[in-house]
């Protein structure tokens, strides 16, 4: 891959970041909302205190949040802050910083998503390849209908069903949260086991659904690949069936799966947000849910922006690595 292509691809990444930041900045402004005032009014309504002082309070808070300056100044300072991943203070949880709250939630989501995405990709791809392979065990054919059906279901819906069966009816697994109430987060064996037990159901509801998608995609590619002339040639050369399977079919059929991986990340993440909400799993999704409930604009923006940057980075890396996996692709002729 040439340097200019790498630069171009990185340029796209920067554009994504800039667009996401600008969207974050302008959309709420366009709607003419006043987050500080609405928050104060809400608190006034809750606490029942007099509303006469609110206008002054709004002024003070707007100065503190920097909302009293002209729009273009706000825009540039916003972009400047955002580049440093500084998203101001949380309105609902002042004086906590948005970036701190996000940093607390990110490891949970990364662990859950990293594990589930990887597992479902590997299991699904191998399963899909075997499903297309004529010499695979016969019982595998029975896997197709359930895989199809699961693939069509939203993650969180399966989560609800799993939760009912394995946490409510048969209380094998915890129903809620990322760790037991009262447990102190520490790097002890007991706590890690506790966290793992809590992650089983959310992870399972993602893996079961996502595996079906990968398996279906892979099966389709395998069928096409097995029809290629070079596979027929390999067969007539008398190569072992395992060699044909792994080195001739699997290797070629897997490439589109990796391309699809970049696109699937966004969808998996959108689905995982809801899974977290259903299970009260203390990751990015639940944080976002709380922020929406509390109408905490800075927190919502911070979460959305962080996720877009993280995913943009992931796809960037994937795109840069891809030519190494597929020698036929070089960026020279695009």
């Amino acid at each position: 891959m040439r340097l200019i292509d790498i630069t171009k691809r990185c340029g796209v990444f920067v554009v994504i970041i800039w667009l996401a930041a600008s969207l974050n900045f302008f959309l709420p402004k366009l709607s003419g909302q006043d987050p500080v005032r609405s928050k104060l009014l809400q608190q006034a309504a809750l606490g029942g205190y007099v509303q006469s002082g609110i206008d002054d309070m709004v002024k003070v808070y707007e100065a503190r949040f920097g909302l009293d300056r002209p729009l273009w100044q706000q825009y540039f300072s916003y972009i400047g802050d955002v580049v440093q991943l500084d998203f101001n203070y949380s309105i609902a949880n002042y004086p906590r910083k948005v970036s701190d709250m996000i940093a607390e939630a990110v490891p949970w989501t990364v662990a859950l998503l990293g594990m589930t995405t990887l597992l479902s990709f590997v299991i699904g791809t191998v399963l899909g390849a075997l499903l297309a392979w004529p010499r695979a065990p016969r019982w595998m054919a029975w896997l197709m209908p359930p895989l199809w059906a699961l693939h069509a279901i939203p993650f969180f819906l399966l989560g609800l069903i799993l939760m009912y069966v394995f946490a409510f009816q048969v209380p094998w697994l915890p129903i809620f949260g990322g760790y037991s109430m009262g447990a102190t987060p520490a790097m002890t064996l007991g706590f890690v086991a506790d966290v793992a037990r809590h992650a089983v159901l959310p992870a399972l509801s993602i893996i079961l659904v996502a595996t079906g998608g990968w398996a279906l995609g892979m099966r389709g590619m395998m069928v096409t690949t097995m029809g290629e002339d070079y596979v027929t040639f390999a067969e007539s050369k008398g190569l072992s069936s395992f060699t044909i399977f792994s080195r001739y079919c699997l290797r070629n059929a897997i490439l589109p799966q990796i391309t699809a991986f970049a696109l699937a990340l966004g969808q998996i993440l959108s689905g995982a947000v809801l899974v977290e909400v259903i299970f009260g799993y203390p990751g990015i999704g639940t944080l976002l849910f709380q922020a929406i409930r509390e109408n905490d604009h800075f927190l919502i923006q911070g979460v959305v922006f962080t996720v877009i940057v993280a995913l943009g980075l992931a796809t960037l890396i994937l795109d840069l690595v891809y030519p190494l996996l597929d020698p036929r692709i070089s960026y020279q002729r695009t």
């Binding site: 554009v15 709420p28 909302q33 069509a152 970049a262 959108s270 929406i292 919502i300 995913l311 796809t315």
Partner: protein, 282 residues
């Protein structure tokens, strides 16, 4: 007619999918006759009744008859999906044809936007949009919000189809015989793409419903509308699972399952019509 029946016997996915959706349609239509849809509002009936002869689906904590909620809410959820899906595919088709048929800078821009847009997690962008226009979204506004991203995927996939079609011999002939660009698009390309467009549409409707339910579960939906997603929001809000009110979430879950499975199998069936090469493997 006989040939049609014979074809359907082979295309089981299409039959299964249509049957599921038909069942849902019947449920809604018959439901409107046997239940008072007004009971889908809060405070209409006694709260938290488990399923009985009087309330076959039970009632929720705010006093809604869940059967009435399902009968009233299913069409609302489907409406969001249909409006957003149709808008998305319509916009996507136009953009895809412009991009793929005329190429050039229009193609570069359209493809660029679609490619970038697809790598961004859609639900999160929709959240930002929905949060910005709060103050009580209506069902139709909800559909528009979802449609704002629903054109990305159709644009990308239809463009790829048009790119391969435009090199075919009959398009070449039409071009040489002096047919204008729009005429070729409408009379030569479009008819050949119809089955594919239908599959794309069903797929888009399904994604739109998924996105709308996602927004609703997060609490960004039409608060006073009894859609399926809002019902799940209340389920989560009241912790119905932990409290053992199983009937509350069972009804919407089953109906959403039927919706997605039905749409999925119809897509698979339509794909089979659009792409006969799939038949070999089926």
């Amino acid at each position: 007619m006989q040939g049609f029946v014979r074809y359907l016997r082979r295309n089981t996915s299409l039959v299964v999918g249509s049957a599921l959706l038909l069942f849902l349609l019947l449920f809604v239509v018959i439901g409107h006759f046997i239940v008072d849809v007004e009971d889908a509002r809060a405070l209409s009936v006694r709260p938290l009744q488990p399923p009985s002869w009087r309330y076959p689906f039970g009632t929720d904590r705010q006093g809604r008859d869940l059967l009435a909620v399902m009968v009233a809410g299913t069409p609302l959820t489907l409406r969001i999906g249909f409006i957003a899906g149709i808008l998305g595919v319509a916009i996507g088709t136009v953009l895809a044809f412009v991009a793929a048929y005329y190429r050039g800078w229009a193609d570069t821009i359209i493809r660029g936007i679609a490619d970038i847009g697809l790598t961004v997690p859609g639900l999160l962008v929709l959240i930002i949009i929905a949060v910005s226009i709060r103050g009580g979204l209506t069902v139709n506004q909800m559909a528009i919000v979802v449609a704002s991203l629903a054109w990305l995927n159709p644009t990308r996939t239809i463009r790829a189809q048009v790119l391969s079609l435009r090199e075919r011999g009959y398009v070449e002939i039409a071009r040489m015989s002096g047919m204008s660009g729009p005429a070729i698009i409408f009379f030569e390309l479009m008819p050949n793409l119809l089955p594919y467009l239908a599959a794309t549409l069903v797929n888009a409707i399904s994604s739109a419903i998924l996105a709308s339910i996602g927004l609703e579960v997060l609490g960004l939906g039409p608060i006073d509308a009894p859609t399926l997603g809002m019902t799940l929001y209340w389920v989560n809000f009241n912790a119905a699972m932990i409290n053992g009110w199983w009937w509350w979430w069972t009804a919407p879950t089953v109906i959403i399952l039927i919706v997605f499975l039905g749409l999925f199998f119809v897509t698979v069936g339509l794909d089979e019509i659009a792409n006969p090469r799939l038949r070999k493997s089926a």
